[in-house]
Assembly symmetry: C2
Homo-oligomer: 522 residues x 2
């Protein structure tokens, strides 16, 4: 059992899990080891029986094997984690199909339309918004795209590659020629897939400028019940509304994304990154404001509030930490960093020059090698914590902790009131994941004690309260976590009504039987 049906990544051994829990408990003071609860082992799980036999037409790549059904039941929201931890796989799909090519996807959609079976396209299954859960009546087939994971073509001249939708972050980058990378590293990088990134408009590596996968997509190909949708490879176009922008964020409701041409980057040669400490949160925010409007386009511009810095990056608990970084494959970035540090200094920021990193040779999963040395590097610490975070979360259900992360984007003029309201309502810590000239994308993490057995209701209540706040204060319900099923009520309030009308009509035309990921978007 390589992949767990509840945990992030491989199934953890019980003693390792408890050890992780002890570390989390010691480090954060959160959770209660004395009431520790083990996950329900899979041999005690009772899945609902499949409502359908495996269809003859799909039997080469489709099954109803219980463990496969279980591990394809949920995404990775805390709401999902706690149910899976307790052995509740009620919404398990009846069937799991793992097509090897587009013709198998077409056969699946034809069969599903003829038999009124819902199809849930799935990449890495890392949705934190209920995007891949069969939360509806009637039978469901999970369409797992991860077997379609090849890099099919590389155009080094235009720095672009044609990649199948099921390629994961490491899988994709591992197949690219030396020196070329996508440089798109969401927190889910290890497991999430290109198709999932496109379907959810995921946020990636760059803190400014090319923040979303949208900017890295040159063309998209999708199989829809109305035929194959494929756009031209184009560096730019003004020919009508962009077809790619219709699929970006379509969350599996309009078609099954099968491949895309993506824009690549050369592996950076020049890199520099400096943590800057601020005694005042508001001064740090003002520094990010000015950096975002400077036209310097830092690749890293992530602000951690004092508590988040203490929890994840060895901060002292009194200073907010802004990590400012530049990278380039073309030129030294000293002039860029110098000006950025002038800006941060003008707001009272003190760079921690001792932990400055520069001229790094790449390595490791994200291309961000550790340069060695015993000293704690605050930005490196944060990067490690960033990718380790989901693994730590595995320990939360047993510890009796509820975790919710919520994120938004809002214009600068409205940010102070939004932030104040969130901090008054919750015990959140805050970081800025991305920053734009017209506003930041704040990301909040809340960890609170669970009432055992009531976690889902508790989480739903928390989600609803913070979502209300975000909308009331002018934010978006999501900057890069997508809508799924958990954000639907607030998404419906946020989007323009005539747009919803048009989207429904487009969906109906492409998917007249309504089989594609029902309940998502429309």
């Amino acid at each position: 059992m390589a992949v767990s049906c509840w945990a992030w990544g491989a199934e953890p051994k019980l003693d390792e899990l408890r050890e992780t829990a002890r570390l989390v408990n010691e480090h954060t003071g959160l959770g209660d080891m004395s009431t520790w609860e083990d996950p329900v082992p899979f041999d005690r799980v009772r899945l609902p029986p499949p409502r359908l036999p495996v269809p003859e037409a799909l039997k080469d790549f489709c099954d109803a094997e219980p463990y496969e059904r279980a591990r394809h039941t949920y995404g990775q929201a805390y709401r999902d984690l706690i149910r899976a931890y307790r052995g509740d796989f009620g919404p398990a799909p009846d069937l799991v199909a793992r097509p090897r090519d587009e013709s198998e996807i077409e056969r699946t959609l034809e069969w599903a339309a003829a038999n009124q079976v819902a199809v849930i396209p799935r990449g890495g299954g890392t949705s934190v918004v209920g995007g891949v859960e069969a939360r509806f009546d009637g039978p469901a087939l999970c369409l797992d795209l991860t077997r379609m994971n090849r890099v099919l073509s590389v155009d080094a001249d235009s720095r672009a590659a044609l990649v199948e939708a099921g390629a994961s972050g490491p899988g994709l980058n591992g197949q690219l020629p030396e020196g070329l990378q996508l440089r798109f590293f969401p927190q889910s990088y290890e497991f999430s897939t290109l198709g999932g990134w496109i379907a959810t408009r995921a946020g990636g590596h760059y803190a400014t400028l090319h923040t979303h996968i949208d900017d890295l997509v040159e063309s998209v190909r999708a199989v829809t019940p109305a035929g194959v949708w494929e756009s031209r490879r184009l560096p730019g176009s003004g020919a009508g509304p962009s077809p790619d922008r219709w699929l970006l964020g379509s969350e599996g409701a309009l078609g099954v994304i099968t491949r895309a041409w993506v824009r690549l980057q050369r592996r950076p040669v020049y890199k520099v990154s400096v943590p800057v400490r601020f005694a005042e949160w508001r001064a740090a925010v003002a520094a990010v404001h000015d950096l975002a409007q400077s036209g310097l386009h830092p690749s890293n511009c992530r602000l951690l509030d004092a508590r988040e810095a203490a929890l994840t990056s060895g901060g002292d608990g009194r200073h907010a930490v802004l990590i400012v970084g530049f990278e380039s494959a073309d030129h030294p970035v000293d002039a860029w960093l110098s000006r950025a540090l002038q800006i941060t200094a003008s707001h009272g920021g003190r760079p921690d020059e001792a932990t400055r990193r520069g001229g790094v040779a790449d390595g490791g999963a994200t291309g961000d090698g550790v340069t060695g040395g015993g000293r704690q590097r605050q930005d490196q610490a944060w990067r490690n914590a960033f990718t380790r975070m989901p693994y730590l979360r595995n320990a939360y259900p047993g510890l009796g902790l509820i975790a919710e992360t919520f994120e938004t984007a809002v214009t600068w003029d409205r940010f102070p009131a939004l932030h104040e309201a969130v901090m008054a309502e919750t015990s959140a810590t805050c970081r800025f994941a991305f920053a734009y000239p017209d506003g930041p994308a704040p990301y909040y993490t809340v960890v609170v004690p669970a009432v055992r057995g009531e976690e889902v209701a508790q989480w739903d209540d928390l989600k609803r309260r913070v979502s209300d706040l975000l909308l009331r204060h002018g934010g978006t319900i999501t900057h890069h976590h997508a809508v799924g099923r958990d954000h639907r009520p607030h998404y419906d309030l946020q989007r323009p009504d005539p747009f919803a009308t048009a989207l429904r009509a487009a969906k109906q035309a492409l998917d007249p039987h309504g089989i594609l990921n029902p309940g998502v978007l429309v």
Copy 2:
């Protein structure tokens, strides 16, 4: 008669027009003064009688006055110019409405739906693709938005402004607070409007990075027959497909764009621009390739081939000229330019340092002040020619010249074959208007002798031949001139079929009577 019903801008006097023609003839050797033909004066024009009386419900802001109908008949394609020059206003709209607010637009749409009258939303009327022409059966009302031209609100903190759709370039910038600009300067800047830019995904000031109006739009509001469509002001979002991206490029077919929040720039303080000469076109192209992939993001990166440079910028006819420029309101850009000139030098480019411009105080329509001095400045010359070009074109019909400009974007790997095919088929000159990491946006100009009386057929034939070439070689039918009616056949070939299905369904849901700009997009 302030605005001409055939010329670019104000109605030229006949002697001024003939003088312009003589200059064009002398400078280019094109055209034949001995066969000069004057425009048909308006008092000899016979408009088709309006098929409808002015409706009582709209009479406060709607009329059928002949000159108004004539000047709202066409856009600004050569195809339009020659017909208007000859006094042919066959497709004149029956009515011209000039609403002052959204309620008047709503009244117009209600009346039009009830009476099956087509409505053509119109900004500055500078379409070069037949986007504003009533090229269909049945009555038509031209909905001129230019009375709705105010800046309604400015958020200096987020650097954004709420602007009505009918504001022209100078009108918009003139209402912004000191120090803030949109910095969006299409060739049509003087007359075209924000609503038109959004509806057509216009291309603007920056040669790299934020090339289209798309990137400068924070939210859009439109009146549709299905209600008011208004998106939230958001710096970024991942909540479903972007509603704004559905309206960007919608060409008046989905709704009437009435206002938008746009992202502003601070007026640049540091500016530098250098012409770089190349003996070899291919070397110049390679330099643009490397610049576009460098991450330097030059604000100007426009390449003129040797003939285009000679015609428009005082070039010597043997060298291609690449104008490289950087601008910033935040920091000196010397490091940026130095690296850019290293790149151009590595391809044999020789900077004309004597004409380097830097540290310029802004002024003039585009904020690009002339710094004085008697010397010919190649980049300044090109900028002047750029905005003067449409005025020169006024002389073409009388001179017996046909002008066609066509532009595309294509990936680097396909550009050489596309370019070779275009140059073999036509006598075009070429410039790169915009450059992306994955490909350039070449812009071609063709001027050929007309067969008098056959100009429209000649132009249509030329358009079809070059459009075939662009598509065959992997380009887009338009990078920033939109689809309109002239590009429809090739647009239909280019877009994905299921996307067309979805777009038709969306249009049908929003505009069930099909009154909005029929024939455009769907």
